[in-house]
């Protein structure tokens, strides 16, 4: 019960649709703060749709998302980035835009902000790229810079949609370490994953989406499997709540 009350993100009997097509029904659960929750499922299972609903970008047909995290402290790195890579901006400037929640839209940055920005870039191993334009970054470097922005933002809820797609293994290692540190600091993290190795290394909780329904499973139960799509051959029905 104490777990339920400390949760800052709860899903209550969610029914989600894209246009007229129902994507998910009866999805329930408490997302634990300080834990990394993996969302798994085959393509089209509704992972991105659920994330959209959590971020308030998609209104549920019924049910509700209860999120007590301040809007400015929620960060979302979608699969299809809206980021304009031709925009004349450097990595450091991108990271600094994350100071919006604490700093507002008008005030200039002070030395302490720049110091914090530099510390974050050092943590992510991108200090040497500080002045490089966004358009000249590799996929992994870009992903690190975006995580840098969420660190600057002091995000309390972080949603990542397949953050390790097209990313080199060094970046994966760094990002996994940083995400674990963020979770240890109390950040609620939801991450869409496809790779079993990443799942094993990161996930504390797993919400599996299949056949329009969600089911909480223990990460250990997935360990002997090779791919998430293969562990959901059964059809899920009814309401599944709580953690495994």
């Amino acid at each position: 019960m104490s777990e339920r009350s400390s949760s800052r993100l709860q899903l209550h009997d969610l029914h989600l649709a894209q246009g007229r097509r129902t994507v998910l029904e009866h999805v329930d659960g408490d997302i634990k703060p300080g834990a990394i929750t993996a969302l798994i499922g085959a393509n089209g299972a509704g992972k991105s749709t659920l994330i959209q609903a959590i971020m308030g970008e998609l209104r549920p047909i019924s049910g509700k998302v209860v999120c007590t995290v301040d809007k400015a402290r929620r960060a979302w790195l979608p699969q299809q980035l809206a980021l304009d890579l031709t925009f004349p901006m450097s990595v450091e400037e991108l990271v600094m835009t994350g100071s919006w929640p604490s700093h507002g839209a008008m005030k200039g940055y002070c030395a302490a902000h720049y110091r914090k920005g530099r510390e974050i870039m050092a943590r992510l191993g991108i200090s040497h790229l500080a002045h490089r334009p966004l358009g000249e970054l590799s996929g992994g470097q870009r992903q690190r810079a975006l995580i840098g922005r969420t660190l600057m933002q002091e995000a309390e809820l972080l949603l990542l949609d397949e953050p390790f797609a097209n990313v080199d293994s060094d970046t994966v290692d760094i990002l996994i370490r940083i995400l674990r540190q963020m979770a240890d600091e109390g950040v609620t993290i939801i991450i869409v994953l496809h790779d079993m190795d990443h799942l094993r290394r990161l996930a504390d909780e797993v919400l599996m989406l299949n056949g329009g329904h969600g089911r909480w499973v223990a990460p250990s139960a997935l360990n002997h499997q090779h791919a998430p799509a293969q562990v959901v051959p059964f059809t899920l029905g009814g309401r599944h709540a709580g953690t495994a």
Binding site: K71, A72, W76, D84, T86, F87, P88, P133
Partner: protein, 296 residues
């Protein structure tokens, strides 16, 4: 030599109309290029053109009601520009059509309606005046209006600068940060309309957009930084407006087209010889040695 310089660059400003014209041109050159830079960065370069047409019926109605009165025509222009922007936004939301498609439809209707209105109430001279402007004919009231609008634009841009940058770069992030993020786009379109109404007296509705876009597109060949783009675009616009006026004075050419053509020359030269992405830059392409890059 000094006499020649004086005759070319100083003497023309003995005339009051030239002094007013150059001040008007410089005021516009401060406000228009930053808007153009953001339009280019947002991939909305043609929206400026569309809005320039959109204000025409309002300007024409003002002209019919009060004759050639800049304040009345400006108010009409602003009202019509904002209305067309809102309508285009509403149609695109309603039908799932992209905003630029709706805007393109409305601007051509506006152009036809504007030309029709002016022809009904005035002569072809009036039409030419509205379409192509007459910077040499601005009086003190017009100058005050242009300077006030330009000041307002620069101050507002400074206030919304960071929001505008974030909106251009990553609209999703801005939406996440503020539930009122939609206002950034609306304020920006409002500034665009204001700038075009300030510009139509000097350069005409059709060419006012030139001082906004050409310096901005030319600056892309010289800088990769936002501050650089804005600074270079403003300087180019100032040079073009002052140089164009002087050319028009000495060579007896129409002032509006002289200014815009000079900005056009700056664009072409930038495309040929600019620092980035120009023809010359492609020919002299050099790479940074890896060791140097890592030590940076």
């Amino acid at each position: 030599m000094l006499a020649l310089l004086d005759a070319w660059f100083i003497a023309p400003f003995d005339y009051g109309f030239m002094r007013r014209a150059v001040v008007g041109g410089l005021a516009l050159s401060l406000a228009a290029p930053p808007l153009g830079v953001f339009l280019v960065l947002r991939g909305m370069s043609l929206i400026g053109d569309a809005m320039a047409h959109a204000i025409l019926p309002g300007v024409a109605l003002g002209f019919l009601l009060a004759g050639f009165s800049l304040p009345v025509m400006s108010v009409g222009g602003v009202l019509f520009g904002v209305m067309v922007a809102l309508l285009a936004g509403a149609v695109s939301k309603m039908g799932g059509q992209r905003e630029d498609a709706a805007m393109a439809s409305f601007f051509i209707i506006s152009l036809a309606a504007g030309v029709m209105l002016i022809s009904m109430g005035g002569s072809s001279v009036d039409l030419t005046h509205v379409l192509f402007g007459s910077i040499l004919a601005i009086n003190s009231t017009a100058l005050l209006l242009i300077a006030s609008i330009s000041t307002l634009i620069v101050i507002t841009l400074a206030i919304i600068f960071r929001a505008l940058v974030v909106e251009c770069l990553d609209p999703l992030f801005l939406r996440g940060q503020s539930s009122r993020s939609g206002w950034v786009h609306s304020v920006f379109l409002g500034l665009l309309v204001l700038n075009l109404t300030a510009g139509f007296q000097t350069l005409g509705t059709l060419m006012a957009v030139g001082l906004m876009m050409l310096p901005a597109t030319a600056a892309r060949f010289w800088s990769k930084r936002l501050e650089g783009l804005i600074g270079i675009a403003v300087v180019l616009a100032m040079l073009a407006s002052t140089g164009g006026l002087l050319l028009s004075f000495h060579l007896d050419t129409p002032s509006g087209p002289s200014i815009i053509l000079l900005a056009g020359v700056a664009y072409l030269l930038s495309a040929l010889f600019g620092r980035y992405h120009s023809l010359a830059a492609k020919l002299r392409r050099k790479t940074t040695p890896l060791a140097l890059e890592q030590s940076h």
